[in-house]
Chain length 121, copies 2
DNA sequence: CCTATACTTCGCCAAATATCGAAATGATAC
DNA sequence: GTATCATTTCGATATTTGGCGAAGTATAGG
């Protein structure tokens, strides 16, 4: 029950759902997710930590960058089921389509440039 | 997206998950759910209203009683998927098993007696 | 080392939420 | 009608949550 509650609570936020859905397409470093959501680094970091705690995402460190990705196929059925449900439910939505478009742009820029631009603001 | 958020937020509470899972077995009137959760009538009523708003449960009125049940097979895929995930994820859990046992006892008593007993406290 | 940098943690505030008891609602039964 | 009863709505309160900026951590590169 604890795990289930952790997972649904992790999903129970629009920004976390958007981030999670974005990770379906590609792994992303934090600054890319920051760019997508338009929130402060600390807030996005916190969101990702909640998703990680619930085992919905994993991360790998590459130098100064931390790349997040959705949990893999080997994840617990609880998690696997949640991710599949989110994908099926969000796919085709209007806001989702907009995020996908923006994400494609974000992926064109390399993370370094992205972070630099963010620091200016 | 709005619908998805409504559904996950509705699921993001342990007591609502317990109520929802209990409804998998049988339709229940409010006082039976009150008995199961051990919360005040107003609180449980509010929980059920949130689940209804998200279309996860439906209700029918029978005299003074209102019976709640899980959304049927004709429900939107979004809802159907969520209910199936909850069932699969909670089935076999320890707290869940306890609830099932208690629920069986609750179903032995008729609702009228149950309500009367609750009014005493 | 020292600086810059990508990210995290902490302290704070505002908004949302869970809970209760009291009052309101709507239906039954006398 | 009046009383009773199952449920809902309202008002108040306590807790949780989402958000930010400032300070902290860890790593790359001079």
């Amino acid at each position: 029950m604890r795990d289930v509650v952790a997972v649904v609570k992790a999903l129970a936020d629009e920004n976390r759902l958007r981030a999670l859905f974005a990770l379906r397409l590609s792994e992303l470093c934090l600054c890319q997710i920051i760019e997508l959501l338009g929130l402060s680094p600390s807030t996005v970091s916190r969101h990702m930590s909640i998703l990680k705690q619930a085992r919905l995402v994993e991360s790998r460190k590459d130098g100064r960058w931390i790349y997040y990705r959705q949990a893999g196929d080997n994840a617990a059925p609880l998690v696997r089921g949640a991710l599949d449900w989110v994908s099926r439910s969000l796919k085709g939505g209007k806001e989702t389509a907009k995020d996908v478009r923006q994400l494609k742009n974000i992926l064109k820029t390399n993370p370094e440039t992205l972070c630099k631009r963010q620091r200016k603001n």
